[in-house]
């Protein structure tokens, strides 16, 4: 059976937690390792042993033949030693076919990047880096609890380029409390001045259970209104376009051919295996996810050989919901030929209001315009109910 399986490898560690972040990640003090960030390195080896065991499990369960993309996310993967991360890549390539075209990405904190580390990552097999830039403006970074010096981003990206990385991306966040339109423009311009091939830009989401969530709830922090955030999206989209970055998903822009293949797998309903605590997988219409805490993960994988917490089998309706929800986010859009006349009539109103591309509509597809991308969830609801 010649099937493909993408890999996501979760590194659940950070030196410190940012106020807006609700990802499944833990700081040394939360893991009772004291306050020294280097404590992470000490446990990384044994943690990655567990990940390797899970990769064996993935082979057993899926019997997939090849791996088109591998993505190390976190947490802060660059806290770990490149040679340790390399063991994971080796574990994958020894069980699955991994060709030189395989996209192998690592998320990087600009502060933890050195030329030596970059060389090590190249050697380990990585060929793409996604930098957490977030903003070029110090007070905005401070609001986000990010500690890096904006100048580090430029240094890190250039160093990555010098180390032989061709595919470089930065993540930006807009709509941070206190961020002005000029602040945002400065971040966008700064990102575009870097030697990169890809940009992700996300409106800040206030998640319950985070420090920011609590501050907003208590009224200590006021989130900017949605109209202003929409204006920021439009500003960024215009500038990215002018600089040759085209949107291919509503929060992602790339130079031609530099789209992130791994993320496209998520949006197109492909199969992937997420290894590590709390990681989600999707294999042939079934979603399952691991236990969240690193300690529980270790427990489960060592005693049962399987870290899964729960699973769901997607019925036809759920698959259809997900397809609409995900594919409409992409520039490739989605065909509406199978929709009921009522749904099509509803969509025609969106077409008339300029939320859908006219030319794509003529071809039987729904493709969101710039305005349409900003209300994508609403259009999804229009289609689904």
């Amino acid at each position: 059976m010649s099937s493909s399986l993408a890999f996501y490898v979760h590194i659940p560690y950070c030196a410190r937690r940012c106020g807006y972040c609700d990802f499944n990640t833990y700081t040394p003090s939360e893991l009772s390792l004291g306050s020294d960030p280097s404590a992470i390195a000490a446990i990384s080896e044994s943690y990655l042993d567990l990940v390797v065991r899970e990769i064996s499990l993935a082979k057993e369960v899926t019997q997939a033949s090849h791996v088109p993309t591998i993505f190390f996310g976190g947490g802060t993967p660059t806290l770990l030693e490149p040679r340790d991360l390399g063991r994971v890549i080796t574990a994958i390539s020894s069980r699955f076919e991994v060709t030189p075209e395989c996209e192998i990405t690592i998320e990087a904190n600009p502060d933890t990047i050195t030329p030596e580390k970059l060389a090590g990552l190249r050697e380990a097999g990585f060929n793409r880096i996604s930098f957490g830039m977030q903003s070029a403006v110090p007070h905005v970074l401070a609001s986000l609890d990010r500690t890096h010096n904006p100048a580090n981003v430029e240094r890190a990206v250039s160093a990555a380029r010098s180390a032989g990385f061709d595919e470089l991306s930065v993540d930006l966040i807009y709509g941070t409390p206190g961020e002005s339109m000029a602040d945002w423009e400065q971040s966008v311009d700064q990102a575009l001045s870097l030697p990169i091939t890809h940009i992700s830009a996300y409106a800040l989401i206030v998640e319950p259970g985070t420090k920011l969530g609590a501050q907003v709830k208590r009224g200590e922090v006021i989130m900017p209104d949605d109209d202003e955030t929409a204006d920021k999206y439009i500003l960024a989209d215009e500038k990215f376009n002018s600089a040759g970055f085209d949107w291919y998903e509503l929060s992602n822009w790339a130079k031609s051919g530099s789209e992130c293949k791994h993320n496209i797998t998520y949006w197109q309903g492909g199969d992937w295996w997420g290894a590590g605590p709390g990681a989600h997988s999707h294999v042939q219409g079934r979603r399952f996810w691991n236990v969240k805490h690193p300690t529980a993960y270790r427990e489960k994988i060592t005693t049962l050989g399987n870290p899964m917490a729960d699973e769901e089998v997607l019925d036809a309706a759920a698959q259809q919901s997900e397809r609409v929800m995900l594919e409409l986010r992409m520039r490739s859009g989605i065909s509406y030929s199978s929709y009921s006349p009522e749904v099509v009539a509803g969509l025609k109103e969106y077409l008339a209001e300029g939320y859908l591309e006219q030319s794509a509509w003529q071809d039987g597809r729904l493709v969101l315009t710039q305005r349409g991308r900003l209300i994508a969830d609403r259009i999804v609801r229009q289609i689904l109910f």
Binding site: A203, Y266, W272, G274, H280, H282, E322, M325, L374, R378
Partner: protein, 624 residues
């Protein structure tokens, strides 16, 4: 020992009218009528101590909770006078205590020869009490003035004795002082009832005439009709006939309430009791009607019968459209016990299927709604209440409008609206405030009198429509709760009225149309459009909200198109979570009503139809 053991007391149908005293208690809501009644039940020993419970006579939960009596009852109390040592039968007829039930009160009064005017001696007389007092005086009832709650530290018996004496024309020292709570003065009051109130007079040999002063539906027994026999007698198996309808029934059971039902051999002249005929609907046994005998009918009915006439109309719609049959069933059931409630199916583009309901007044409306929600577990939206208009169109046609949606579109010759005579009692410091409110509401001052040094009675004529629109709440809040209000219909008057429609994206929303005075149309329009702008969520297009009189726009707002409705991130682990959120939103969409292309959340309808006072009330309730 003035109490008489029940078994030894004069029996129904065998009691000499000279031994009977029929009286009622006129009192304001919280002036202690129920406590005094409880005390009378105890002292006369018709209720044994161990069976006593607070507010014994108030049957319904709503009555007990709100401290008001909706339906009257009549209790037979044997009493040996402490003055002459003779045995008497006292029939205490309870009266409803609210403005909406004036007619029912008048029928209860017509069944009595005397009234106890009961006033809380810490508060003084209230407007509704005053109105009922005047009603009793018009009926030539003997009034026994009584100050209650003399045990209270805040009691001012001398001051209020003066006030009562002035009102009914007696001496302040004639005013009795009692405490229903401690029992002080209650025996003396019973003796005075015997001494002062005349015995009933009637002709035992004349054809039977009995006044229906109440009729209550009981799910086991059918309708229980409360009567006062004026002439002749009522006995079981009699074929009785209703004067107003000519309908015949057999009296299956005749009895008295003491205070539990007690089957009797009949009721004679002057006696008060009940008749059960097996009918299932109180409309067949109407308050104010006269019962006579089919084979020997009286020539003339007792005076004063009126059909109940609804004064206030409102649409009631189930929040969940699927509950419509349940609402119909609930209304049908309620009507068995409420001859004044009328309703017919109504369909609203915005609110779906419901009923247009007519009520005696605002309290009646509130009680009906609360009973529907409570007893049938329904959630209801009610449209803003309105009164009944007589409209004459350009071509001379006359029509009655009980629903703004029926208001004719073309040329209108004239519109007439119901007018009431309102009486406000309040401390004199609020005269200015009250006059200001009444002027704002198109009131015309009729007169003003000082009841005492610092309390006034202010009389106005006002359009009923103005009272229906949060007048009472305004009056209470502007007078810090001190003012009381009573009103009675006094006819119709022509007025400069218009219908204001509310349009969403050019589509009329029937639930928000209102008939208002021309000078207030703009205020209504801006209030409603402003409210809706806040309540309706932004959608993918701009939504103009307009208020219009016919084709003329008088106010406008607009809800700008939504700019952002998307979550920026959607990666591996987000997908399940996002799909589940969608499923939840699907549920939410079911609670949306479509007005043309505009999605309006049900909460927006509820909130837009709710006055600020309602919101305050709901908040206060939530706090309890």
């Amino acid at each position: 020992m003035p109490a008489i053991p029940l078994a030894n007391a004069p029996q129904p149908a065998q009691t000499n009218p000279a031994q009977i005293r029929n009286f009622c208690i006129i009192a304001h809501i919280d002036h202690g009528k129920s406590t005094l009644a409880d005390r009378m039940l105890g002292i006369t020993e018709v209720v044994e101590q161990r069976n006593m419970r607070a507010q014994y006579l108030d049957r319904m939960d709503i009555e007990r909770e709100r401290g008001i009596t909706i339906k009257s009852q009549a209790v037979r109390l044997p009493w040996r006078s402490g003055i002459d040592g003779q045995e008497y039968i006292l029939n205490m007829i309870d009266t409803p205590g609210h403005v909406d039930f004036t007619y029912e009160v008048s029928r209860s009064l017509a069944a009595c020869e005397g009234a106890v005017l009961l006033v809380d001696c810490a508060q003084g007389i209230e407007a509704q009490t005053l109105a009922n007092l005047y009603l009793a005086m018009e009926n030539n009832l003997t009034i026994i003035p009584v100050l209650n709650k003399i045990d209270l530290p805040a009691a001012q018996p001398d001051k209020f004795a003066e006030e009562l004496a002035k009102l009914i024309g007696c001496q302040p020292e004639d005013v009795l002082r009692v405490s229903g709570k401690t029992g002080v003065g209650v025996e003396e009051l019973l003796d005075q009832i015997v001494a002062q109130i005349p015995a009933p007079v009637g002709d035992a040999n004349a054809p039977t005439r009995a006044l229906i002063f109440d009729s209550v539906y009981d799910s086991y027994r059918g309708v229980v009709t409360y009567v006062r026999v004026v002439d002749g007698k009522l006995t079981p198996r009699d074929h009785i006939q209703m004067f107003s309808t000519g309908v015949r029934h057999e009296a299956l059971e005749v009895g008295v309430i003491s205070p539990e039902p007690l089957v009797s051999k009949g009721l004679g002249v002057g006696e008060v009791g009940y008749v059960i005929t097996g009918v299932k609907d109180v409309r067949q046994s109407r308050v104010g009607d006269t019962i006579t005998m089919h084979n020997n009918p009286a020539k003339q009915a007792l005076a004063g019968y009126k059909d109940p006439r609804p004064m206030v109309f409102s649409g009631l719609f189930p929040l969940d459209g699927a509950d419509f049959p349940l609402l119909r069933e609930a209304l049908d059931k309620l009507q068995l016990n409420d001859a004044a409630l009328v309703y017919e199916p109504e369909s609203s583009a915005a609110l779906g299927f419901g009923f247009r309901c007519g009520f005696l007044g605002l309290l009646h409306m509130e009680i009906v709604r609360e009973r529907l929600e409570r007893e049938s577990n329904l959630s209801l939206i009610s449209t803003a209440p309105n009164v009944v208009y007589s409209v004459t169109t350009g071509d001379g046609k006359e029509m009655t409008v009980t629903n703004p949606s029926e208001y004719p579109d073309g040329k209108i010759e004239k519109v007439e609206e119901p007018i009431v005579r309102a009486t406000v009692l309040a401390p004199s410091e609020f005269i200015g405030t009250i006059m200001e409110l009444c002027q704002e509401r198109r009131g015309i001052l009729l007169g003003m009198d000082y009841l005492s040094e610092d309390r006034v009675e202010i009389r106005y004529t006002l359009p009923l429509a103005e009272i229906v629109f949060d007048f009472f709440d305004q009056l209470k809040s502007r007078t810090r709760g001190y003012a009381s209000l009573d009103y009675e219909p006094v006819g119709e008057a022509e007025a400069d009225l218009v219908k204001v429609d509310i349009l969403l994206q050019g589509e009329k929303v029937d639930a928000f149309s209102a008939i208002v005075h021309k000078d207030k149309a703009y205020a209504y329009g801006t209030m409603m459009t402003g409210k809706l702008r806040e309540l309706i969520p932004r959608q993918q297009f701009e939504i103009p909200i307009q208020a219009a009189i016919g084709g003329r726009i008088i106010a406008r707002e607009s809800i700008r198109a939504i700019r952002k409705d998307v979550l920026a991130k959607c990666y591996g682990g987000d997908i399940s979570r996002k799909r589940k959120l969608l499923e939840k939103q699907k549920e939410g969409k079911k609670r949306m009503k479509m007005v043309g292309r505009v999605e309006v959340p049900q909460e927006a309808f509820v909130a837009a139809l709710t006055t600020d006072a309602d919101i305050d009330k709901a908040k206060a309730k939530a706090k309890e």
